[in-house]
Amino acid sequence: MIETITQPWPWYVAGTLIGLIVPALLLLGNKHFGISSNLRHICAACFPSNIPFFKYDWKKESWNLFFIGGILVGGFLSAQFLGSSEPIIVHPDLAKELAGYGIDDFSGLVPVQLFSFDNLFTAKGLIMMIGGGFLVGFGTRYAGGCTSGHAIMGLSNLQWPSLVATISFMVGGFIMANFILPYILSL
């Protein structure tokens, strides 16, 4: 049993559990699954700066901050107690491609050779950590949601604008990963 839990979980188990978050939040208090809104709540709480977009009662949305607090705790608990020490099994083609950029450490969920405080002030680190994060924050709010709000909650509620957003996420990701990221990784 413990063995089963510490192994990486298959997609159908993970997908089912994530799908069940949708009814769980609805049943617990009529809350709609969505994560990127939290970035907005943090702005509204900490730096509203008289910008209309951030002038609302963020405390009414504080449930969502508890929710991401839970995600943080869940990440901590699984790393501490449910972890497998095995490195991630990476597709051979990807491993070969990354090796060409000098990335050969697959020990963590996040490649330590790209995401670290030491890398922050290199061109690559700056683009990936600061630039990438900025695009995530700007893009999700511009789109009105992220993978959870649009791709999972929006599609579950059969909202066609969410399908447009989801397709845009995927198109953007394909363009970046296949045509632009190779140049960034070569820096």
Binding site: H32, P52, S62, I71, I88, L135, R141, G154, P161
Partner: protein
């Protein structure tokens, strides 16, 4: 449903929030703040799944965008199917919350931001290998440098709010 979502003290508040925030449903009930711990519990489960199914792995996201692995498609696809069945049943059976309140849904309106912003988020997703949820899970697993990515994402959201009126929607 319409009546329900219109119950707001400040019309401006509703206007701003309904445009793009996920949650515009307001509870009529006033619960003490610690009731929010139920959402923390759901978050913990979500965080564990994120880590255990390697959804927060930068490598899995790279494989997804290179069509080298079915894993992420399987996860998201299954989640949508389970979510859609749940929403269908909740609507069909008019299920109420555990506190006896109605469960409400609101339609999303199309705007060009879903395309422009969607593409931008896609770029960011492929670079950081994470959407907003996984960023918090990654930080939880102890990769402290991700805090920089999160702060930058908050700055990105702030910049969007600042430029909002000038952007095409």
């Amino acid at each position: 449903m319409e009546n329900k979502t219109l119950v707001h003290s400040n019309p401006m508040d509703y206007e701003v929030r309904s445009l793009d925030t996920m949650c515009i449903n307001e509870s009529e009930l006033k619960h003490p703040w610690w009731y929010n711990f139920k959402y923390l519990a759901v978050g913990v489960m979500f965080g564990v799944v994120f880590v255990k199914a390697e959804i927060i792995s930068w490598f899995r996201i790279q494989e997804m965008f290179r069509l080298q692995s079915f894993h992420m498609y399987g996860v998201i696809g299954t989640a949508v199917v389970v979510g859609a069945i749940s929403v269908f049943l909740i609507k069909k059976l008019k299920v109420k919350t555990i506190h006896g309140e109605d469960i409400t849904f609101s339609d999303k309106k199309f705007n060009k931001g879903q395309i422009y912003g969607g593409l931008m988020f896609g770029f960011g997703w492929a670079i950081t290998g994470a959407c907003p949820g996984p960023l918090f899970a990654q930080l939880g697993t102890g990769v402290l440098s991700i805090s920089v990515v999160i702060l930058s994402a908050i700055a990105g959201t702030w910049t969007y709010g600042y430029l909002r009126d000038k952007l095409p929607h």
